[in-house]
Amino acid sequence: MNYTFDFSSIGSYLPVLFNGILVTIELIAVGATFGVALGIFCAWARALGPIWLKPIVAGYVELIRNTPFLIQLFFIFFGLPSIGIQLTEMQGAMLTMVINLGAYSCEIVRAGIQATTKGQFEAGWSLGMTRFETFRYVVLIPSLQRIWPALSSQIVLVMLGSAVVSQIAAEDLSFAANFIQSRNFRAFEIYFLATAIYLALAITLRQLLRGLGWWLFPRKATR
């Protein structure tokens, strides 16, 4: 082994790398926020929603969970323009992440809702709350609390999976790493660095989500 490590050759590309990090953060911020929101809506629909909506949501969830993320991305970015829906790389990447996380988080949140005792619903109803109000004010927060660790893991997975969006030339961290490697041919150094940055991002995201959990759920739910 007579390879000489040279991290200095990355120096001039730091702005590219930095921009890539920002794009990855932007992707996961948008993807997680709207993805989880979509997931909560779908979980409500599947667990408590009107009967006509259930098969539609179930179809969406099964479609997304049983196809590769890369193909979903290609379909949205390369396929949709054929029917007149033209998206930028970032729009395509974000939309795919939202749709993908929406399906997975639907199933996670649904598990939390379905673990709610009947008595919680009945207490809400008996106080005059509508079905929706009972879901919103009584059922939702304890349900999210139950599944928060699983949901957090899924969000981190989607963040890591977002590396794939470099395939449609969305300029995220992976795209930046590929770009730099193609210029200076320092594959070991740049992918080592990219790995370390993804690791740091994932750990930071986990801690953020844990903190958000503490803020959202001040007390342990006992049932």
């Binding site: 005792t117 008595g119 919680q120 009945e122 207490a123 809400g124 109803w125 008996s126 106080l127 005059g128 709350m129 509508t130 079905r131 109000e133 004010y137 009584v138 927060i141 304890p142 609390q145 759920f217 001040p218 007390r219 342990k220 739910a221 006992t222 049932r223």
Partner: protein, 243 residues
């Protein structure tokens, strides 16, 4: 006119008819105990009055609000009549005070300030003014049930339904809950309770309803029903419960 009118109510779960034509009129400020074996339909009847179960025939009205299956009618009915459950059913993510405030703000659109004042008032009434900021795991079963009572009272219902509210409690906690109920009765609240506390029923209730196989088998003032049961079924039931 009666506050609660239950007329020819029939209720089926599939092929199983659990209520076979119930007629009871309840005047304001009456306290009524429903007794009977499990499966006699007493809990189902109580749940129907709050709209937690639908009925197949007959009608139920509370102060003019009729039991109908749509959300507008259900809400109108539930604003007239509150319910307390065997399992307390406090909202675990909210403090005792917030439990009492929530439905006021959501359903009645009361401001946060007024809801809090009402919550403090109601918690005081059940002897838990000092527990406003406590979560359910910091409260004993008896305290949780008293918070549940305060929560129902804060909606200012005309009647309260109590579905075996002391059955999940340790024996030493039963009395603190019954004391609150007794106080409510004294203040003129209309109460319908499914209970196994025969001594309490005898002491506090204006009428006792003995239910058997989905029908009102005997009904009358407690001294009559307990001292002088007319049917062998009630005789046997009282023999079983009172040793």
């Amino acid at each position: 006119m009666s506050l609660i009118e239950i007329t020819e109510v029939k209720k089926r779960f599939g092929d199983n008819e659990v209520l076979k034509g119930i007629n009871i009129d309840v005047a304001a400020a009456e306290v009524i105990a429903f007794i009977g074996k499990s499966g006699s339909g007493k809990s189902t009847l109580l749940r129907c009055i709050n709209g937690l179960e639908t009925i197949d025939e007959g009608s139920i009205t509370v102060a003019g609000a009729q039991l109908l299956p749509d959300e507008i009618h259900l809400k109108a009915l539930r604003l007239k009549v509150g319910m307390i459950f065997q399992q307390f059913n406090l909202f675990p993510h909210l403090t005792a005070g917030r439990n009492v405030m929530l439905s006021q703000m959501v359903v009645k659109k009361v401001t946060e300030k007024d809801a809090e004042a009402m919550a403090r008032n109601m918690l005081d009434r059940v002897g838990l003014g000092h527990k406003f900021d406590a979560y359910q795991e910091e409260l004993s079963g008896g305290q949780q049930q008293r918070v549940a009572i305060a929560r129902a009272l804060a909606m200012q219902p005309m009647a309260l339904l109590c579905d075996e509210i002391t059955s999940a409690l340790d024996p030493e906690l039963v009395n603190e809950v019954l004391a609150v109920v007794k106080e409510l009765a004294k203040e003129g609240m209309t109460l319908l309770m499914v209970t196994h506390e025969m001594r309490f029923a005898r002491e506090v209730c204006s009428r006792v309803v003995f239910m058997h196989q989905g029908r009102v088998h005997e009904i009358g003032p407690p001294e009559e029903v307990f001292a002088n049961p007319k049917t062998p079924e009630l005789n046997q039931f009282l023999g079983v419960t009172e040793h």
